[in-house]
């Protein structure tokens, strides 16, 4: 494993696939990645909140990123995973993604900041775009995703 801590130059990200695009989640927020499991529905919540699951004795709410981003819901495949992230305000939250690919290290300077004059659709959840081995990885803004 390369440098595990941010030495100011590089950050590590978990790359996930949502639809056709790849997103990167800062690894320091990721607690766990589990296979898809049965989700208990919770009535009267936002559409993108699919319900709650049991992870090692804790009840964790689960959100579908596709829905949150405004995409059509997709069938869960054998690649679908739930990425469990932790934020200070929201505690633990599970994110349903189409697939989890790998861990990459991106140079901080190499991440281009995205300027959005019209925050619409998917762009508002992205803080920047990084390049890795020829493909683009959009850096996910976790706080935006987790806010209502």
């Amino acid at each position: 494993m390369e440098e595990l801590k941010n030495n100011g130059g590089a950050k590590q990200f978990i790359v996930i696939r949502v639809g056709e695009e790849q997103y990167g989640i800062d690894i320091k927020y990721v607690d766990n990645i589990i296979h898809m499991c049965s989700i208990t529905r919770v009535p009267k919540v936002a559409l993108y909140v699919k319900g709650v699951i049991n992870v090692r004795g804790e009840v964790i709410p689960v959100m579908d990123i596709r829905t949150k981003m405004g995409l059509m819901e997709a069938e869960y495949t054998k690649n679908t995973r739930i990425v469990i992230v932790k934020s200070e305000q929201q505690g633990f939250v599970g994110l349903i993604v189409d697939a989890v690919k790998e861990v990459v290290t991106l140079e901080v300077d190499g991440i281009e900041k995205v300027s959005y004059d019209n925050k619409s659709g998917k762009t508002m959840f992205v803080t920047g775009v990084g390049k890795h081995q020829g493909s683009l990885i959009s850096v996910l803004d976790l706080n935006e995703i987790l806010t209502e």
Binding site: T40, R41, V42, K44, E58, V59, P61
Partner: protein
């Protein structure tokens, strides 16, 4: 000497002493002659002085030393407590609290020498002119009246509960009770013999209940020239007095009928509990202007003596218990609580694992062990919950002082009555509930209670009364805070809301009174004309409501214009583990706290009636609204239209409702897991639990549904 390691203990104990002093000085204000209170205060001040000295806090030591001096003199009887002294004492307490806070924050008591205060204390020590002879007797039982006028000495005989009960009964049966003082001639030599003859004479006519000095003392001639007795008889007073005087060498016999035993009848009904004490004390307080004969003062002193004795008992009880307590870090309790929760989940899984194994013979040994395990875990859970439960007393005992200060500040006479201080709540809840309660009390004092003139106009007593009652109701603790003041003026609130643009005039017309009152809970809402530092900023009620809701409770208000308002706070008792009824709705499993459930019914669809387009059922004489859970939870019911419905009757306070479910799954002890922020919005879902098979079931809050 390095005392820093003792700092924690010092702070804890100082706080305790200061709280104690607070309570005792308040008591002293009401009852300046009470020796026990004075002793208690002296002891507390002395302990504080010792502790401060050991820790090296010179200023604190000096202040407490001077306080101790004052009290030493009071104990000796050289000086008496006056009302301005009480104010000085409270100021001393405030100064000590300031020192303590400084020590806590900076490990230093600060630089305030409080010289002015010390001077005031020392001024109290100077003897002031013509001390009034205290005509009332000291509150020690059995002592004959000191400088009372000779004739009414019998009226100062202290009576205990049992005796008052007997006297009360006698009066009810139509007998007469007389208090008589008998004076023996100065030249009499054999006083005891004469007294004995008097007793004999009286006993021909009736019964002597009590005498002062005691019968034994009289026989031993331990009295000067007179003694007093209380007699129950059918004969007229004159006859009794005549018979007494007929004994030789009796100088004088004087007496009168006793009918008033200072409110004993009501008291006699209940055992001498602290509550009865307080109720009676307040009765005395609220009737200060009654100028009765020495009879009344005699009766009053008897209860005062009893209050002193009972209080001492109560205090010595708490002292005894106090020696057997251990201070425990809250975090350790939390860890313990979590472990117990995990244990229960594991137990549930175990139960589920053994019962779902089909085809296996049920292993009797395993089953019985599992049952035993269940018993033990339930007991363990209950014990740990008890450990975390703390009486709200620790929070509410600072309120009387606050009300007293408010009373002076707002220039309105007010009085706080509290009941149920021993009601227990989880420790975390108790910590949080103090502020909301304080706010509600201040509201009552500031907005609720009217000025003295308005109260007089309305025929209300000059002293406004504010009350705080706490009691348990099922799985909840209810705290009521109220006053007998003006109540909430709905029109006023409505107009204010329209004025501020919160609602339009049309909306306001359609709102029920309750909805209008709910507007008060909005941030920045206040109908006060001006902002004082007590209230009026409009920042309070919404904070109260949100704090209480964070604790899982709710708050509502009942009010009557001109009569007063009552704020009712409902808080859940146990936070983490409950007995639940497991039900199925639309194929999904849900849990309902068993404490809310009263009965389970099977209802035919034809029994459902419509009242104002709401479904109701008629059950055993009451009309109960029906709530279809499948509708509330946005899911299809698995039952057909014409099938009988399973209805769980739930109750909240005195309101009932019927929850329609599809299936009943049984009863289970479950651990409540919080759901996280995302799903907090749904008030009907109060949490989730993990079932034995790993599935998550949501917990329905019946209180929200009703």
């Amino acid at each position: 000497m390095d005392v820093s390691q003792y700092l924690e203990i010092f702070l804890d104990e100082t706080r305790e002493h200061l709280q104690n002093l607070n309570t005792e000085i308040l008591n002293l204000e009401q009852d300046p002659e009470n020796e026990d209170t004075v002793n208690e205060i002296f002891r507390a001040a002395h302990s504080l002085k010792g502790m401060a000295g050991t820790m090296g806090y010179k200023r604190m030591q000096t202040l407490t030393h001077d306080m101790e001096n004052v009290f030493s003199e009071v104990r000796n009887g050289t000086i008496k407590i006056k009302s301005h002294m009480i104010d000085i004492l409270f100021q001393c307490l405030d100064a000590l609290e300031e020192y303590t806070t400084n020590i806590q924050e900076n490990s230093d008591e600060g630089t305030n020498d409080n010289e002015a205060l010390i001077k005031l204390l020392n001024d109290c020590l100077k003897p002031d002119g013509a001390q009034e002879e205290t005509p009332a007797p000291e509150s020690t039982a059995g002592k004959p009246a000191a400088a009372a006028s000779g004739g009414s000495k019998w009226s100062s005989i202290p009576l205990d509960e049992a005796q008052k009960l007997v006297l009360g009964e006698a009066v009810k049966q139509g007998k007469k009770v007389y208090g008589i003082t008998v004076k023996v001639q100065e030249s009499c030599i054999l006083k005891a013999a004469r007294a004995f003859l008097v007793f004999k004479a009286v006993e021909e006519l009736g019964e002597i209940l009590v005498s002062a000095p005691s019968a034994q003392d009289i026989e031993d001639e331990k009295f000067e020239l007179d003694f007093s007795i209380i007699v129950i008889t059918d004969s007229p007073l004159d006859r009794v007095l005549a018979d007494i005087k007929s004994v030789s060498e009796i100088e004088e016999a004087e007496g009168a009928e006793m009918t008033d035993f200072g409110g004993t009848e009501e008291e006699a009904a209940s055992p001498s509990s602290p509550a009865a004490e307080k109720a009676e004390k307040s009765k005395e307080k609220s009737v200060p202007a009654k100028t009765e004969t020495a009879k009344a003062s005699g009766a009053e002193n008897a209860p005062a003596a009893k209050t002193g004795a009972a209080k001492q008992e109560k205090k010595s009880n708490t002292k005894a218990v106090g020696n057997r307590t251990v201070r425990v870090d809250i975090e350790k309790l939390d860890v313990l609580m979590n472990l117990v929760s995990e244990l229960i989940i594991a137990k549930n899984s175990l139960v589920s694992a053994t019962t779902t194994q089909e085809g296996r013979e049920s292993n009797a040994a395993v089953d019985s062990q599992i049952e035993y395990l269940e018993n033990v875990t339930t007991s363990l859970h209950e014990s740990v919950m008890k450990v975390r439960m703390v009486p709200i007393e620790s929070v509410v005992n600072k309120f009387p002082r606050m009300i007293r200060d408010l009373s002076k500040k707002l220039d309105k006479k007010m009085d706080l009555q509290m009941t149920g201080e021993e009601t227990e709540l989880d420790r975390t809840v108790v910590d949080e509930i103090g502020d909301p309660l304080m706010h509600l009390l201040r509201n009552s004092a500031d907005h609720g209670l009217e000025s003295a003139e308005v109260r007089a106009e309305r025929g209300k007593p000059e002293v406004g009364s504010i009350f705080l009652n706490a009691y348990q109701d099922g799985n909840n603790v209810i705290i009521e805070v109220g006053d007998d003041g003006n109540g909430i003026d709905v029109e006023n609130v409505k107009n204010k809301a329209i004025e501020r643009g919160t609602v339009t005039p049309e909306q306001a017309l359609n709102m029920t009174d309750k909805e209008i009152i709910d507007l008060l809970f909005l941030p920045s809402f206040s109908t006060a004309k001006e902002v004082t530092d007590v209230s009026g900023r409009g920042v309070g009620l919404d904070v109260v409501k949100s704090k209480i809701e964070t604790l899982g409770g709710e708050v509502e208000v009942k009010t009557q214009l001109g009569e007063g308002s009552t704020w009712i706070i409902r808080l859940p008792l146990t936070l983490a583990i409950i007995q639940a009824l497991m039900v199925e709705v639309g194929g999904e499993k849900y849990a309902i706290s068993l404490n809310s459930v009263t009965t389970l019914e099977n209802i035919a669809p034809s029994d459902v009636k419509l009242v104002q387009s709401e479904e109701v059922i008629h059950l055993r004489g009451s009309v109960i609204p029906l709530i279809r859970l499948n509708e509330v939870l946005d899911i299809e019911s698995t039952r057909k239209e014409n099938e009988n419905m399973i209805v769980a009757i739930v109750k909240k306070g005195d309101k009932l409702a019927g929850l329609v479910v599809d299936k009943l799954m049984g009863q289970q002890e479950i651990v409540i897991k919080s759901l996280g922020k995302f799903v907090d919005k749904t008030r009907i879902i109060s949490g989730a639990t993990i079932l034995g098979d790993g599935e998550v079931a949501l917990i329905l809050d019946a209180n929200v549904l009703i």
